[in-house]
């Protein structure tokens, strides 16, 4: 980063940032303002990307047993996907992961080869591929200190034309299955943090309503069907509430409600459209998109609804079109979709530093954090990708379903 540009940004109070950005829109070729804007919202040039491959801890993987070959491949791919570990053949490496994979469990052991110490030795009993993914997550946690996300689930919509169905898959794209067969529009899925429930928008009734699915039993309940749109549900961290958009009072606004449809609480009160609420990990705040200023931008309000819409904080990301925020599990970052030069890209806002950064250059939208607060799953042109926000590298997620969008990852 250019230190001059950083300095220029830091001395600007946020209200002045807004004015600078507005002026930029009216006079796009004003060189001084353009420089400021680049400072606010810089892209990484190739020279700034740290190529950290040589310093990655190397983990040798060798799993035996009836399913040993498959498990070795699953774990190796999982570790590689973290971008923080380099899987190697079993003879080399800083760590050695060994195990025994049978039909419904993996006994996994990790040894630190430098010290010779056993890091862990435990049984993972997830069904099918899940046990191997759980082994991967334990290795990732032990080696990097960050929670692994290989055992996470991915919900998304898939379809073409006027029909989109709801899908659930493993985060590596395996085991994709349709949850709905409604022949209508399904949209905006969100998984509860414990992974047990899924809330989403469906036009099954002819209107946009919010439904709740209990994934264990498969039961589905329509929980929000006020006049107007009912859409974009997002689970509170404790799973007791949903934030969502309702237009029942004449305009799309953010509300919170309990899972049975009660305890409705209005959060925003503007003349614009508020959409895509996302809870802070502590549950006391909501980030959302509002176009009350003419184009959609990001705002944070408290989630109690006690301030009657008067409490809000405008996030100056450096771009005038920002939608679909997602608050990271560690609370430090907010990923969002932005429109730049007619293209949609993923940006990340640093909550403490109050700065935004663009992290894709080839397009992307609808980002969802994985549990390590480092990776994002997003969609681009009907395909899903896993993005490492540290290296800015994207990997396609191969899924046996077409026209994929609106991914959301279990925490």
């Amino acid at each position: 980063m250019n230190p001059c540009l950083n300095t220029a940004h830091l001395i600007f109070p946020s209200s002045l940032n807004l004015i600078a950005n507005v002026n930029l829109q009216k006079h796009p070729f004003h060189s001084t303002l353009l420089v400021f804007a680049l400072g606010f919202f810089s892209t990484h040039t190739p020279g700034q990307v740290e190529v950290s491959v040589p310093t990655l801890p190397r983990v040798g993987v060798s799993i035996s047993g009836a399913l040993g070959g498959g498990a070795t491949e699953i774990v190796s791919n999982d570790l590689k996907r973290t971008g923080m570990i380099s899987p190697v053949s079993s003879g080399s490496g800083d760590f050695l992961a060994t195990g025994d994979a049978e039909d419904s469990s993996v006994n996994g052991r990790l040894v630190n080869k430098k010290t010779g110490a056993e890091v862990f030795n435990q049984t993972f009993s997830g069904k099918g591929r899940l046990a191997a993914h759980e082994f991967s997550d334990a290795i990732t946690k032990a080696v990097t200190g960050l929670p692994g996300f290989a055992s996470s689930k991915l919900a998304f919509v898939s379809g073409s034309g006027r029909v989109k169905e709801l899908y659930l898959a493993d985060i590596d794209g395996y085991n994709a299955r349709a949850l709905t067969h409604d022949g209508t529009i399904s949209a905006s899925p969100d998984l509860s943090h414990d992974g047990a429930k899924l809330a989403y928008t469906s036009y099954k009734s002819g209107y946009a309503d919010v439904y709740l699915i209990d994934l264990a039993s498969g039961s589905r309940t329509r929980i929000a069907f006020f006049p107007g749109i009912n859409s974009g549900p997002n689970f509170s961290p404790d799973g007791s509430l949903l934030a969502l958009t309702l237009s029942k009072d004449g305009n799309p606004e953010i509300y919170t409600m309990s899972l049975d449809g009660g305890s409705l609480n209005r959060i925003t009160r503007t003349r614009g459209a508020e959409t895509s609420p996302s809870w802070s990990p502590s549950g006391d705040r909501l980030v959302y998109s509002s176009d009350d200023r003419g184009s959609p931008q990001l705002f944070i309000s408290n989630s109690s609804g006690t301030t009657d819409g008067a409490d809000w904080d405008h996030l100056v990301t450096g771009n005038s079109y920002c939608t679909k925020p997602d608050w990271s599990p560690d609370g430090k970052l907010i990923a969002f979709t932005t429109r730049l030069g007619g293209q949609f890209q993923i940006g990340v806002y640093d909550v403490a530093a109050r700065t935004g950064q663009l992290i894709t250059t080839s397009g992307g939208q609808d980002p969802s954090w994985t549990r390590d607060s480092r990776h994002l799953v997003y969609s681009n042109n009907s395909h899903l990708y896993l993005l490492d926000t540290a290296s800015h590298q994207s990997l396609p997620i191969e899924i046996n379903a077409g026209g994929c969008g609106e991914p959301t990852v279990s925490r």
Partner: protein, 184 residues
């Protein structure tokens, strides 16, 4: 991008403001047209009693998918990118809709808001809703009963035409006016 966007917007706003002088528009509250302000032109949110446009009508006893969109197909209202402002040229269509409604008692109207495919689905759904509600408020301003005007938004999921051209996008940013045989 910005220069291209601003010029039509300024023209639209100029026409819109001029149209406000017409007697027939005096009841139009401007819900959904940002009060005529340019994007970013204000730095405070309208928190006082805002957002209370005319609430959507209670859902009717019909399936929205069965509405007749053919009868008033030529009166489909089109919008600029990322806008829910009804431009002056589109308002004459709503005058025709108003005349049709008054000449055909026993019907209700179903106002279906849509967005083009660009952007995130959730925002597009809200944008389509704002467009439908803006049309509804305009028609109420022309004297139509609010209870006879149903709305829904399909976001970008039901395009009128497929394709990735500006022409296709322009045809998809719309409110279609369906006819429903139902008294409120």
């Amino acid at each position: 991008m910005n220069i291209k966007c601003r010029l039509p917007l300024l023209i639209a706003l100029t026409i819109a403001l001029a149209a406000c002088g017409d007697d027939k528009d005096k009841n139009y509250t401007g819900m959904g047209d940002n009060g005529g302000a340019l994007p970013g032109g204000q730095d405070t949110l309208n928190t006082a009693d805002a957002g209370g446009g005319i609430p959507p009508a209670a859902r009717g006893n019909f399936n929205p998918d069965n509405a007749d969109y053919q009868t008033l197909a030529s009166d489909t209202v089109y919008f600029d990118f990322d806008k829910s402002t009804i431009s002056g040229s589109e308002r004459s269509k709503l005058d025709q809709v108003s005349q049709w409604f008054k000449a055909n008692p026993g019907h209700s109207l179903f106002l279906a808001g849509h967005a083009d495919k660009r952007g995130t689905p959730e925002y597009n759904r809200a944008l389509g809703e704002r467009r439908a509600l803006a049309v509804r408020e305009y028609l109420v301003g022309l004297g139509l009963p609010a209870a006879s005007l149903y709305t829904n938004s399909y976001g970008a999921d039901r395009p009128a035409v497929d394709g990735d051209t500006e022409e296709a996008y322009a045809k998809n940013r719309r409110v279609e006016i369906g006819v429903v045989v139902q008294q409120p």
